[in-house]
């Protein structure tokens, strides 16, 4: 087995074992941290499908996460305070599919437009759509505008009690495993080959007869839907949502995680999320300018360690 497979295994085992140990040691704070890591890992993994494998520099991914979180918060809000009969619900079996469906639809509509553009225009227009959602929620007084919305009740699911930190954690952990497998399977499939081919040389793929626009749009929708799912988990974890979750800097952070960890690698985005969370935790105790070292690290990775952390690990032993 190659080194990177051992590392993948080690990371996933560690993530399964550590949280119960933290609880047993009476340190629930670290379970919170692990939960946040796993949720960010899912969001970054979903971004990796389009950014890493598709080469689509989408700068608006946090919008999908935010939409997913509001899809939990808004139904719960109406359940408590009335109105909105069509969506009012505490049921996770309704909220989570709603989060996935709405973010997929948003991805379909915006992707259809964004993917008509290329390069820096694509970056700008994905960002513009995300900011549009940001300002949309800021303008809605009923859902707390820029103060945000407290989710008074977590999603109700059969067999799982999300109010239990460890159960919430393992629900997220299982979702992460699923997300990693989904993106990995898609990347290696015939669809994934076309997507990666179009990233490397779009004109060649068109000449071969592939309508690359449709392939990219499909990837964009899958990616958006997965990010919406991550958003539903995030809403349940923080029990609070605000437009700030969709700010462009949040999208930038997700991009950092993917590139730092290693774009177009299975585990890279999760590794990037881990580094992000560690830096954030450690440095934010000392300085409010903790973003700065993170930016410097990213520049170092881009300049000296192409392929990110996973690239460095891979080169150590297998020459790839």
């Amino acid at each position: 087995m190659a080194l990177r497979h051992w590392i993948t295994l080690a990371v996933l085992v560690l993530l399964a074992v550590m949280p119960p140990v933290f609880i047993w040691m009476g340190n629930p704070f670290y379970v919170d941290l692990a939960t946040r890591l796993v949720i960010l890992g899912i969001a970054a993994t979903s971004l990796n499908l389009i950014l890493g494998y598709g080469g689509l520099i989408s700068f608006g991914h946090a919008a999908f996460v935010g939409i997913g979180a509001y899809a939990v918060g808004i139904p719960a809000y109406h359940m408590l305070y009335g109105g909105g009969e069509a969506v009012a619900s505490f049921n996770g079996m309704f909220q989570i599919p709603l989060a996935v469906a709405v973010s997929a639809l948003f991805a379909l509509i915006t992707g259809a437009i964004c993917l008509r553009t290329k390069g820096v225009y694509f970056i700008m227009i994905t960002m513009a759509f995300a900011q549009m959602v940001y300002y949309f929620f800021i303008s809605i007084e009923e859902y707390g505008a820029d103060d945000g919305l407290v989710i008074d009740m977590r999603s109700q699911l059969p067999f799982i009690e999300l109010d239990e930190p460890l159960q919430l954690y393992f629900f997220c952990y299982a979702s992460l495993i699923a997300a990693l497998l989904i993106v990995r399977t898609i990347a290696n499939s015939r669809f994934g080959m076309v997507l990666q081919g179009a990233k490397g040389n779009n004109e060649r793929m068109v000449t071969l007869g592939y309508n690359t626009y449709l392939y990219k749009l499909t990837a964009y929708v899958i990616s958006g839907a997965m990010a919406g799912y991550a958003g539903a988990l995030l809403g349940n974890f923080t029990t609070f949502i605000s437009p700030e979750m969709m700010d462009w800097s949040r999208s930038g952070e997700l991009m950092f995680m993917v590139i730092l960890g290693g774009a177009a690698t299975t585990l890279g985005p999760l590794m990037g999320s881990a580094v992000f969370i560690i830096i954030e935790e450690v440095l934010s105790n000392y300085t409010i300018y903790w973003h700065l070292p993170f930016g410097l690290m990213l520049i170092a990775v881009v300049l000296f360690a192409r392929g990110g952390l996973m690239g460095v690990i891979g080169r150590g032993r297998d020459g790839k």
Binding site: T185, I186, N188, S189, R190, F191, G192, M193, V194, Q196, G197, K199, G200, N201, E203, R204, M205, V206, T207, L208, G209, Y210, N211, T212, Y215, T218
Partner: protein, 247 residues
Amino acid sequence: MSAELEISGLNKSFGGIKATDDINLAVTANELHAIIGPNGAGKTTLISQLIGSLRPDTGRIVFRGRDITRMPAHARARLGITRSFQITSLVMEMSVLDNVALAVQARDGHSFRFLRPARAVAHIREAARGYLEQVGLGPRADAPTVALSHGEHRLMEIAIALASEAGLMLLDEPMAGLGPEESALMVALLKQLKGSRTILLIEHDMDAVFALADRISVLVYGHVIATGMPDEIRFNHDVRHAYLGEE
């Protein structure tokens, strides 16, 4: 004999430059039709319009009786038109075999298949290996594309064009930048293909052109000034004056 490809009244300008100037040309099924002409004559521009990456300003392109003038590039490929690129155009990040496999996969139904690993689809991989062997790149199949030489990249272009199993191959200077041995290999390869499909060959190497072509058209300043058998072209006064005489 039926016309496989009919170009009529084709025009394309870039600003003030008329890159395609009222081109009328009929290419017969299974002929090897060479297009020669000085640098900047508009040869690549013509191919780009035939393949669909450039829109002509006016005129019509008919392939097998079907008007394809406004058809998107990917749809033309599905009808059986392929091109090779004058400037090598491959997916450098992928292996040699992956590049060819993508061409095989393209005509194996749609690729909205998400589950099975593409590299485990035996019939695609084996077919792709076959095309690589045909151009002599069999031993290089698993190498990363970036690791290959310029000559090998040119051969990959041909392997990919072959893998498309297209009825009409548009080859844009396949011998550009090749050494004498590699050129000879390429000529032998094209000789093998000749007769089994329609080939529009753009080439500066006159020895290769006269050795291979059934007919030749001469393009100067975007306009076809002559079309004929190799010998007619060789001794055509206008051609000698406008083009061959310069060499």
